[in-house]
């Protein structure tokens, strides 16, 4: 964590931090360019790239046609030929149209070529639900990407990570997918100055605790932290682990936490079956089975396409209450 070397800090939003990251990357390296739907003239769907077109011009802040497969593939090719593209897929929902280029292209190129070619591509995309955008615009598919060898996958969940993960991702010789949860853009937080690129291999303990480990990432981190605060009111000291890197998973940090707390709740906005939470649970059950004093609990989305109305959407997604309840259950249960 770069916070250690901070000499001061400013308060800013996740959105602003992400913009600063882009601006800094474009300024630092002429090989870097940003490309995606409406990143330029529109200013970015979530206003992340607003202003960058004026600053860097249309070649380096490049609006694309509605051709997800086409421009993601173009990112792969440009990366193979010496550039450092940052491709924005507006949301993960539309990434379904580009999966072939990401999985059969970006992820496999190094291996298929016996290590001769590599794809230093960064793909950013918004993910997640909670804004009443209904079934086709509310997916959380991080775990799919985390399944694919050849990709690195990360999810900045703090203002500092929004600011600094990009630089690390760009320095990576291989493709990196960054997931930005739509619910986080407005998040305010401290940004230590001067910052520095963060380590893209480690999970982070966001709140130390002794009684139960709440492991999560991305948009569910604020919920987990709120749940920990609630639990603290009733004397339960929860540790909150932010996975940060979804592939390769930093299981050491998770296992270390479970070894302290002996209880685990994994929170994930994917649907429960086949969630990334399931992978974390399975891996911990493999590696730290004898450390567990209770069954692992998962708090995930209910297995329903995300409905439009607020009350149903809320009911479908992980909630603070559900996390609290799951944590309590791990403490109460027993053989």
């Amino acid at each position: 964590m770069s916070a250690a070397s901070a000499t001061s800090a400013t308060t800013t939003t996740y959105r602003e931090a992400a913009r600063q990251a882009l601006r800094a990357a474009l300024a630092a390296d002429p090989r870097v360019f940003l490309m995606g739907e409406d990143v330029g003239a529109y200013g970015g769907t979530y206003a992340v790239s607003r202003g960058l077109l004026d600053e860097f011009g249309p070649a380096r802040v490049r609006d694309t046609p509605l051709s997800e497969s086409g421009f993601v593939g173009a990112g792969v090719g440009a990366a193979m030929n010496g550039m450092r593209p940052i491709v924005e897929i507006m949301t993960v929902n539309f990434a379904l149209l580009a999966l072939d280029q990401l999985v059969n292209g970006a992820a496999l190129m190094r291996h298929m070529s016996g290590g001769q070619f590599h794809v230093p591509l960064v793909v950013r995309m918004a993910t997640g639900a909670g804004r009443q955008l209904a079934a086709q615009h509310s997916h959380s598919l991080e775990g799919w990407f985390a399944h694919v060898p050849g990709l690195r996958v990360a999810a900045p969940a703090t203002v500092e990570d929004a600011r600094w993960m990009l630089a690390t991702a760009l320095a990576d010789p291989d493709p990196v997918i960054l997931f930005e949860h739509v619910g986080l853009y407005g998040l305010e937080g401290e940004l230590p100055e001067p910052g520095a690129p963060v380590d893209l291999t480690r999970a982070a303990v966001r709140r130390p605790g002794t009684d139960v480990s709440l492991v999560t990432y991305g948009g569910s981190l604020p919920k987990a932290l709120r749940a920990a605060a609630h639990l603290a009111e009733t004397g339960v000291d929860a540790e909150v682990v932010d996975l940060r890197v979804l592939r390769p998973l930093d299981l050491d940090t998770v296992v270390a936490s479970v070894t302290r707390t002996h209880r685990l709740v994994v929170i994930d906005e994917m649907w429960r079956t086949g969630s990334l939470a399931g992978e974390v649970a399975a891996a911990v059950a493999e590696r730290a089975f004898y450390q567990l004093d209770a069954p692992i609990a998962r708090v995930c989305s209910v297995e329903v396409p995300i409905p439009y109305p607020k009350h149903l959407e809320d009911a479908a997604l992980p909630t603070v209450d559900a996390i609290v309840a799951a944590a309590r259950a791990t403490l109460e249960g027993g053989p």
Binding site: D38, P305, Y308
Partner: protein, 330 residues
């Protein structure tokens, strides 16, 4: 005037009232949606069709009950003109159980099996292959129905447009592809996304016939649609209609419209499909000022009723959350 001429005249007047009623309904309904959005009773994405009404009104006119319609997330107009009740559509936008999609879909996912209205598809280009399939089913059973698919010019550069046009032409399927070319895909002007700016020119690459129409002129749109639907029904081949139009409002409620200038918007607003239609029809004597006033009044009442209905409509209980995922056990 001869009795025949009088009858024709009466029919023309009735038709003009009907056209205007549709245009006005769509316009006033959406203006109200914008207000309800500000009032936070509608949430999520809300894409208004204001300015483009002539396209849906004209294109849907020749369709029959057996025909299929599929549209995008900017589909309030198409749903209303196709016959979905304003109450059921407004209730849907409110997320209520009485909505036309049971409240599950919201603004972007209006559906009605009764009206053969297949959505409300919010993935750009995603409805086009589905339209091919709808038409394939009719072709295989020889029903004589046609399928009309609406999409923006933004969708034209998606791979699915290409695959769908080829399939429809190859298999000789009765699909009317209606490209609502409003010049922008969110903030991306057509010329900044299409190497070749004339959508209609693409059709030749698939051996598909095509026509361009002024999408601000409901009379022209309807005439084109009638010709095309008739041919598609008879010849069982797809057809592409490019309607040149403009959206007067922002892309969605979140759009600060940094990408186009006010003068351009103002110039297009001059060509308002409703105002120009009223002017033309009143000048010709086909509509009177009273007709217009009566239509406005009737529409206002329907929109009010729709809102009242939506407000009063029940929420679906949370216990029902997992309904409609797969078929319920009988």
């Amino acid at each position: 005037m001869s009795p025949a001429a009088t009858a024709a005249d009466a029919a023309a007047r009735a038709h003009a009232r009907q056209v205007l009623a549709h245009l006005v309904l769509v316009r006033r309904f959406e203006e109200r949606c914008a207000i309800e959005y500000q009032a936070t009773r509608i949430r999520g994405f809300l894409h208004l069709y204001i300015g483009e009404e002539a396209v849906a009104v004209g294109c849907l006119a020749p369709l029959e009950g057996r025909d299929n319609v599929i549209a995008t997330y900017r589909e309030h107009g198409h749903a209303l003109v196709r016959g979905l009740s304003p109450a059921s559509v407004m209730a849907e936008m409110f997320g209520k159980a009485s909505g036309c999609s049971g409240g599950r879909g919201g603004s972007m996912h209006l559906f009605s099996a009764q009206h053969r209205f297949y959505g409300g598809q919010a993935i750009v280009g995603g409805g086009l292959p589905v339209a091919v399939g709808l038409a394939l089913a009719d072709r295989m059973r020889d029903t004589g129905a046609v399928t009309m698919a609406f999409f923006g010019e933004g969708a034209v550069v998606e791979g699915e447009f290409h695959e769908a046009l080829n399939l429809a032409a190859l298999w000789e399927l009765p699909v009317v592809f209606v490209c609502e070319n409003n010049g922008y895909a969110m903030g991306t002007a057509l010329g900044r996304a299409h190497a070749q700016p004339d959508v209609w020119r693409r059709a030749a690459g698939y051996g598909v016939e095509t026509e361009v129409v002024d999408g601000m002129d409901v009379i022209a749109v309807e005439a084109a649609a009638r010709r095309i639907v008739e041919r598609v029904r008879a010849e069982r081949r797809p057809y592409l209609l490019e309607a040149r139009t403009y959206r007067f409002r922002a892309h969605s409620m979140f759009d600060p419209e940094l990408y186009r200038d006010k003068a351009e918007v103002a110039a297009w607003r001059e060509r308002c499909p409703i105002a120009t239609y009223v002017a033309r029809m009143t000048a010709a004597g086909t509509l009177t000022a009273d007709d217009v006033a009566a239509i406005e009044a009737a529409v206002a009442a329907r929109v009010d009723e729709a809102v009242a209905f939506a407000e009063a409509a029940p929420w679906e209980p949370v216990a029902a959350l997992t309904r409609h995922v797969t078929a319920e056990a009988p």
